[in-house]
């Protein structure tokens, strides 16, 4: 396709002449994504041909292996200098492998790896008919409470499809921040969205809620992607191409000898502005920024908690990556137009997220709202429009994603007869009964609140510093105030856990296997390391914080 818009004149003719020669693909740079997606395909085959009994182990092994290899290659590429001096646009101009891309892919892969643990956890649910089961429905297709479900449970079935779905989602997320043209952006979005829709529907307990969340997520997601693609169409109409560099040139007006058609469309900024606004909306929906946030609480609450954790962490990473690239590579020329808008969105997200969370009574919903507030904080870094802005956002995403995964992993542990006890009243006095779990959760909450010596604080400082340098001091003030409000409900949970009398019918804390324990441990370690000794990772973020153009 690069060939296509290399010379805007006489397109049809070019198509023939260039289609003949096979385009060159840089398999090395693409290997991480290819490994994951390939593994996903293999996983499908496993589903098809491997015996039920073996699937679970095969899938867990396969996914773990694939993600590990993907991470290894990513690191390898980064070490090999593909993040910095060898950063390049690859895949016939559709993907760019550079610092931010590799950094975020690395983060996504590790988060996914950790999530595989929580997905595969089989110690939390009570043993059903002699079979240890995970937190996913025995047979999603069966009617909740119907005999089909009973049979499936008796048969000890489990939905091992979650692993290929996870892998596909990860593949899409890896491509999303790397996408270098709008089409790839759209495809990647769908590739990771569709599996997530399905994953949301697969909870073993409270299936109605789970299905409801899936429906809401799907409909609203499709709705937003419709806006996205329409916006893409408009921008294409404006620039005559969907390639980031080309669009950037057109926006900056530095394109040489435009064709008459292009010259005509270039004159019509409305196309560009409207299109840009719609694309932004599509991305802001994914990051869950106000006013496109309303799916977040419901979906976070309804989805199986491991999925929620994965989604909350990885989706944000991927979406913010794409947003950064779009704003910093394609639309810097328009920053005067979109910055005020993004200011507004950031402020709204911070305030609404923090304020509404105050009165929440469900842990998962509360974390959902807090994620909205955090989206606001990150946006503050995004609008900084300077190098520190990029690196601070990268660091924040790193810090935030691990805290999130860890926090949701803890949520899976606190259970009563009805499954996970997510209502806050159930958490009363948890600190008295199992101080360790409570303490760990408290650490995550403090990190969310941005208390010093946790990763949250460093991230917050980085983002605010970038924003202030970028001349967004008001954002910093609003951010500070809303974090003060936010502190209130994080503290509220801590009070509940430690200072209030345990409820008589209080939940029990299940003893997890090494999988979840590992996930939580990693979360804690990263949170504290990034809080106390952040220098190495800040360097990493700042060296990675350069987009290839």
């Amino acid at each position: 396709m690069s060939a296509l818009n290399a010379s805007p004149d006489g397109a049809v003719h070019n198509l023939w002449t260039h289609a003949a020669e096979a385009p060159s693909i840089e398999y090395l740079q693409l290997s991480p994504a290819l490994i994951v997606l390939g593994a996903a395909v293999v996983a499908i085959l496993v589903e098809a041909f491997a015996p039920r009994s073996a699937r679970y182990y095969l899938q867990v092994g396969l996914s773990g292996l694939a993600l590990a290899c993907g991470f290894a290659t990513t690191v390898g590429l980064a070490v090999g200098g593909y993040a910095t001096d060898k950063a390049a646009v690859v895949g016939i101009g559709s993907l760019s492998v550079d610092g931010p891309a590799l950094f975020l892919q690395g983060v996504i892969l590790v988060v996914a790896l950790v999530s595989v643990g929580t997905f595969a956890e089989r110690r939390l649910e009570p043993v059903a008919h002699g079979a240890r089961v995970d937190s996913f429905a025995a047979q999603p297709a069966s009617v909740p409470g119907g005999e089909g479900e009973q049979a499936a449970i008796k048969a000890g079935w489990t939905t091992t499809e979650i692993f290929p779905l996870l892998l596909f989602a990860v593949g899409g997320m890896m491509l999303f921040p790397a996408a270098n043209d709008l089409l790839t952006l759209f495809i990647a979005l769908e590739v990771f969205s569709l599996p997530l829709y399905l994953l949301c529907a697969l909870a073993r307990r409270r299936r109605l809620l789970s299905q409801e969340s899936a429906v809401k997520y799907f409909l609203l997601g499709a709705f937003s992607s419709a806006f996205l693609i329409f916006g893409i169409a408009l921008v294409y109409g404006y620039a005559g191409s969907v390639q980031y560099p080309v669009i950037a040139d057109v926006v900056d007006g530095t394109v040489q000898s435009p064709s008459p058609a292009l010259a005509a469309s270039m004159s019509n900024d409305v196309l560009l502005l409207v299109g840009m606004a719609m694309i932004l909306m599509g991305l802001l929906f994914k990051v869950g920024a106000v006013p496109f946030h309303m799916w977040t609480p419901d979906v976070y609450q309804g989805a199986p908690t491991p999925v929620t954790g994965f989604m909350a962490a990885a989706t944000k990473v991927a979406a913010f990556g794409a947003l950064l690239r779009l704003l910093y590579v394609v639309l810097p020329g328009l920053s005067w137009d979109w910055r005020p808008v993004m200011w507004g969105v950031a402020i709204l997200s911070m305030v609404v997220g923090a304020v509404v969370a105050i009165t929440q009574t469900d842990v998962k919903r509360l974390l959902a709202y807090s994620s909205i507030a955090h989206a606001g904080f990150i946006l503050a870094g995004v609008v900084a429009m300077n190098d520190r802005g990029i690196s601070s956002v990268l660091f924040y995403l790193l810090a935030y994603s691990f805290v999130t995964v860890g926090a949701f992993a803890v949520v899976t542990l606190v259970r009563d007869a009805g499954g996970e006890a997510t209502h806050l009243s159930k958490w009363a006095g948890l600190g008295r009964r199992s101080p360790l779990v409570a303490a760990v959760f408290a650490i995550f909450l403090l990190a969310f609140a941005g208390i010093p010596l946790t990763s949250g604080f460093v991230g917050k400082f980085a983002v605010f510093a970038a924003a202030a340098e970028g001349g967004a001091a008001p954002l910093v003030v609003v951010g500070v105030l809303s974090s003060a409000i936010a502190a209130f409900f994080y503290v509220k949970i801590i009070v509940l856990m430690f200072f209030s009398e345990p409820a008589p019918d209080g939940p029990t804390v299940a003893i997890p296997s090494v999988l979840t324990t590992g996930a939580i441990a990693i979360g804690v370690v990263v949170t504290l390391v990034l809080g106390i000794m952040p220098q190495y990772f800040l360097d990493l973020a700042s060296t990675a914080g350069v987009f290839v153009r």
């Binding site: 600190g431 008295r432 009964r433 199992s434 101080p435 360790l436 403090l446 609140a449 208390i451 010093p452 010596l453 604080f457 460093v458 917050k460 400082f461 980085a462 605010f464 510093a465 202030a468 340098e469 001091a473 910093v476 003030v477 500070v480 105030l481 974090s483 003060a484 502190a487 209130f488 503290v491 509220k492 801590i494 009070v495 430690f498 200072f499 209030s500 009398e501 345990p502 952040p534 220098q535 800040l538 360097d539 700042s542």
Partner: protein, 538 residues
């Protein structure tokens, strides 16, 4: 400049931190071990603190025992420690008080019988571990010469304090156990949010400071010395408004911590609901970080803005003095009374700091130390009293000195120290503050002097209502006198009050030079006396 010898200050802070971890790790059944371990660690810290005081040379550089390592190069944050005389005094105070706090709280955190808790629930271990953790953080913030480093611990210390307040309140509550728990967690949350809010405002200012330095010096820095040098050399010039905004950001945070009227309302709750050792920890140690920071950071970083704000600050300080004293008179609850008394005293400290005279600031520094000791004495004895009767209401007492004369006597001495009776340490600091204030702002000095009359009123009212009069209540008729442990806690405090009351020189010697430096930071000299004018005239 940073001598890479043995990092004494770090050690002084790290020891209690490690001790905290160790204490927390003691198995649930071994409560006594944990107590003794914590006590030993606090004594070790005291020893280290004394070494610091020994090694400190009053005639030497401004900051001594300095350590400097890179920490977060990205933000230009360095792990920079160093103490001037004021820092030494405050660290010594902290290290001295903690053993008393631990000894006084010996049995405050024993688990309640019949409380259904998990195997690993270890309140006692937690209590002492948290105290040590607070000590560590406080010491770091007293020693930090890097704004960011200070901020980190200034904020972080809220968390252990928060657990101490919310987790270990008085079992005895006038309105029953249930209500007590509610009040307690309210107080804890209020404490945390109030201070956190202040801290976040300060965070904005810290970011601002970073931007200013990064903007003008090429790369951001938080090092006090670097900034001071840059300002002196004219490399760094803050715009008037910028400086004022930053000053406010810092000052509000410190004013909340201090606490200064009208940002004080968290203190009575926090002190009232927490056990008296924790209350001592709050008012005698943690709050001092606020006033200390005003002295070191507000004046050190933003001299012009400080001068600009002085009238307002002095007004607030005066209000705090009078208002706090009057409210103390109006209290029905012993601990809240002491809390409001402290508010009044913090007014004096702030007044002394912003009087911008060597007497005022020297006095303020001494005040921080002596107020720490005197409040500790008064509050701990009050705690012993309350633990005997199981009530904090003044009305529930009367005639105690008949049945428990030693308790009454020590209580009286603590009270007299609080009203700064000459011969006891607080008198010196208070008088210095007043003289220092008077010599620059006579009216303010006179208004503040009214505070000493009110102090007499609230202290003696408290003593009269609790200790004197006929014994009417049976609980008091059979009230035991101080036990040996309790006497061992109070006696040294009283001894210190008397010793420093007659011989404060050891402190003044190390404090004076530091005050000179601060004065030169704000480019102020003491006002001339008529005498010297006359000599000048000759």
């Amino acid at each position: 400049m940073a001598d890479m010898s043995f990092p004494l200050l770090t050690a002084t802070a790290v020891l209690p931190a490690l001790g905290a971890v160790a204490t927390a790790a003691v198995p649930a059944a071994r409560r006594t071990v944990a107590k003794w371990l914590a006590f030993a660690v606090s004594l070790g810290t005291l020893a280290l603190a004394l070494v610091v005081a020994m090694r400190f040379d009053p005639g030497g550089d401004r900051y001594q025992l300095t350590e400097s390592r890179s920490w977060i190069a990205d933000f230009g944050v360095r792990y920079e420690l160093g103490v001037d005389g004021i820092g030494v005094a405050m660290i010594a105070l902290t290290a001295v008080l903690i053993p008393f706090v631990i000894a006084a709280g010996w049995n405050d955190a024993d688990p309640v019988e019949g409380e259904k808790t998990g195997r690993s629930w270890r309140p006692t271990q937690g209590f002492f571990a948290l105290i040590l953790m607070v000590e560590a953080m406080v010491i770091i913030s007293f020693a930090a010469t890097d704004v960011f480093l200070f901020y980190v611990f200034f904020e972080a210390m809220l968390i252990p304090m928060y657990f101490l307040i919310g987790g270990f309140g008085d079992r005895a509550h006038s309105r029953g156990e249930e209500e007590g728990a509610k009040q307690r967690s309210y107080a804890a949350v209020k404490f945390l949010l109030y201070n956190l809010a202040g801290g976040l405002v300060m965070l904005a200012a810290v970011v601002g400071l970073y931007v200013v330095t990064a903007d003008q010096l090429g790369e951001g820095t938080f090092s006090l010395q670097q900034i001071a040098e840059a300002r002196a050399s004219g490399e760094l010039t803050m715009g008037t408004n910028a400086e004022r905004m930053l000053f406010l950001g810092f000052f509000i945070a410190f004013a909340i911590k201090a606490p200064l009227w009208p940002l004080h309302t968290w203190l009575p709750n926090a002190m009232g609901e927490s056990t008296s050792p924790v209350a001592v920890l709050i008012t005698a140690v943690v709050d001092k970080v606020g006033t200390f920071a005003m002295l070191r950071f507000c004046l050190g970083l933003f001299p012009e803005a400080s001068a600009w704000a002085t009238p307002a600050v002095i007004a607030l300080a005066l209000i705090s003095i009078i208002y706090g004293a009057l409210l103390a008179i109006g209290q029905r609850d012993i601990k809240r009374l002491v809390a409001y008394a402290s508010i009044s005293h913090f007014g004096f400290i702030v007044l002394g700091i912003f009087a911008m005279t060597s007497q005022g600031q020297g006095g303020a520094t001494l005040y921080m130390v002596f107020h720490g000791i005197s409040t500790a004495a008064l509050m701990l004895v009050a705690g012993f009293l309350i633990s005997r009767r199981g009530s904090r209401l003044i009305a529930d007492y009367g005639g105690v000195q008949k049945t428990a004369p030693v308790l009454a006597g020590t209580f009286l001495v603590g009270g007299l120290a609080t009203l700064s009776l000459p011969g006891l340490a607080p008198f010196i600091s208070e008088f210095l503050v007043l003289v220092g204030t008077f010599s620059r702002y006579p009216v303010a000095g006179i208004v503040a002097t009214a505070g000493i009359v009110l102090a007499a009123v609230y202290v003696l009212l408290l003593y009269q209502r609790t200790m004197t009069g006929p014994v009417e209540k049976p609980e008091i008729a059979k009230m035991p006198d101080l036990r040996p442990r309790e006497i061992a806690v109070v006696a040294p405090l009283i001894a210190m009050l008397i010793f420093f009351g007659l011989f404060p020189k050891p402190l003044t010697e190390i404090v004076n030079p530091a005050v000179e430096h601060t004065m030169s930071d704000v480019r102020k000299t003491d006002p001339e006396t008529a005498q010297s004018d006359a000599e000048a005239a000759k």
